[in-house]
């Protein structure tokens, strides 16, 4: 489908980056995104939704806006830590593109996969393309996808992740191999629609988005990605997360 933007690709891609204490990571992820978009001649913008980080993330965002342009790096802060789901809703108010990319700002999601997401989206006119750590080919198949995988996970982390995905897959049958991943490309109206009906928070939020997408009849493709666990800072996964995840699956099972 043709877009209405004045680039070879005719579309504009808006990245929504929710941040909290990411002053170390933000400049690098913006640099990587800018490089990817420029090399592929795509029209782009990055909406930084910062939850009033005390470490000066916003100051860095302003410096980046000076370098790349205020139309490219758009800072839209919020008053405090209000959660991931509402960060996307907040960011969506300022999106000017027709596609939205959501990803983590800690470079566990590498922007180099975005062109593959876009190619798959175009080839099959998909509503959503999601990154997956668990597949070696894309779905639908394309020859240019390389096998996905993870770096920096110990055995326990792998087991929990595999178990969690197996549980969700068996109970909810969402048709997507990586439910807890959060590196995705959405058509703007599709993201707006799904996010308004999504109620969960935390880990379950990303999973609910996929389950809702399927229930609403949207088409979803998958591209294998390599996932390098946070280099700076800790990623959190404890007993509390596992319990709330299991509860989340139950809620989705009984409501969607």
């Amino acid at each position: 489908m043709q877009g209405y933007f004045n680039t070879p690709d005719t579309h504009k891609y808006s990245v929504i980056l929710p941040t909290y204490n990411e002053r170390k990571n933000l400049p690098v992820i913006v640099w990587l995104l800018a490089k990817t978009f420029t090399e592929n001649q795509l029209s782009w913008e990055i909406i930084v939704v910062d939850d009033n980080s005390p470490d000066g993330t916003q100051e860095i965002a302003k410096q980046l806006a000076n370098v790349y342009g205020e139309d490219k790096v758009v800072l839209k802060p919020r008053a405090g830590k209000l959660g991931l789901g509402t960060a996307y809703i907040h960011g969506l108010n300022f999106v000017t593109g027709d596609f939205v990319i959501i990803m983590d700002a800690d470079f566990s999601h590498h922007p180099k996969f975005i062109p593959q997401f876009i190619r798959l989206q175009k080839a099959h006119n998909l509503d959503i393309v999601t990154g997956t750590r668990y597949r070696s080919t894309s779905k639908p198949y394309t020859p240019d996808a390389k096998p996905g995988g993870v770096h920096g996970w110990d055995f326990k982390r792998k087991l929990v992740s595999r178990g969690a995905n197996f549980l969700a897959d068996t109970i909810l049958n969402p048709g997507v191999s990586d439910l807890t991943g959060s590196f995705r490309l959405y058509r703007l109206p599709v993201l707006r629609h799904i996010i308004t009906v999504t109620v969960s928070k935390g880990y379950v939020f990303q999973m609910e988005m996929m389950v809702r997408a399927r229930a609403l009849g949207y088409t979803v493709g998958e591209v294998p990605i390599t996932f390098v666990d946070r280099i700076f800072g800790d990623s959190k996964l404890g007993a509390n997360e596992i319990v709330s995840y299991a509860k989340g699956i139950w809620v989705l099972f009984t409501t969607v």
Binding site: V28, W31, L32, G149, H151, R162, T170, L172, V228, F253
Partner: protein, 95 residues
């Protein structure tokens, strides 16, 4: 109707059919009555064990096939250094 309701509906039908057969209100076609009785008695356990095996196999296979990607890590480290050097020359504060 949520997925839970659909699953519950199918499960109810299956359980009722199983119980009716177990207590001889329905007969099993094409199988000798005595053999059918022996099979029916252990069928739930057989299903349970099968599902358990499938789960273990599924998770085990998933663990085994989950790739390690040290090359992606090395590439990323290089890019981070490159990015920081470039951003410094452009006047962005990087730690």
């Amino acid at each position: 109707m949520a997925r839970a309701h659909r699953v519950a509906a199918v499960a109810t039908v299956v359980v009722v059919a199983y119980l009716l057969t177990l207590y001889n209100f329905l007969s099993v076609p094409l199988v000798d009555a005595q053999i059918a009785e022996q099979i029916l008695a252990v069928l739930p356990w057989w299903l349970l064990v099968s599902f358990g095996s499938y789960s273990l196999w599924s998770i085990g296979k998933g663990l085994f096939t989950l790739r390690e990607t040290p090359e992606a890590y090395q590439e990323l480290l290089k890019e981070i250094t490159e990015a920081k050097n470039d951003l410094r020359t452009k006047g962005v504060t990087v730690d």
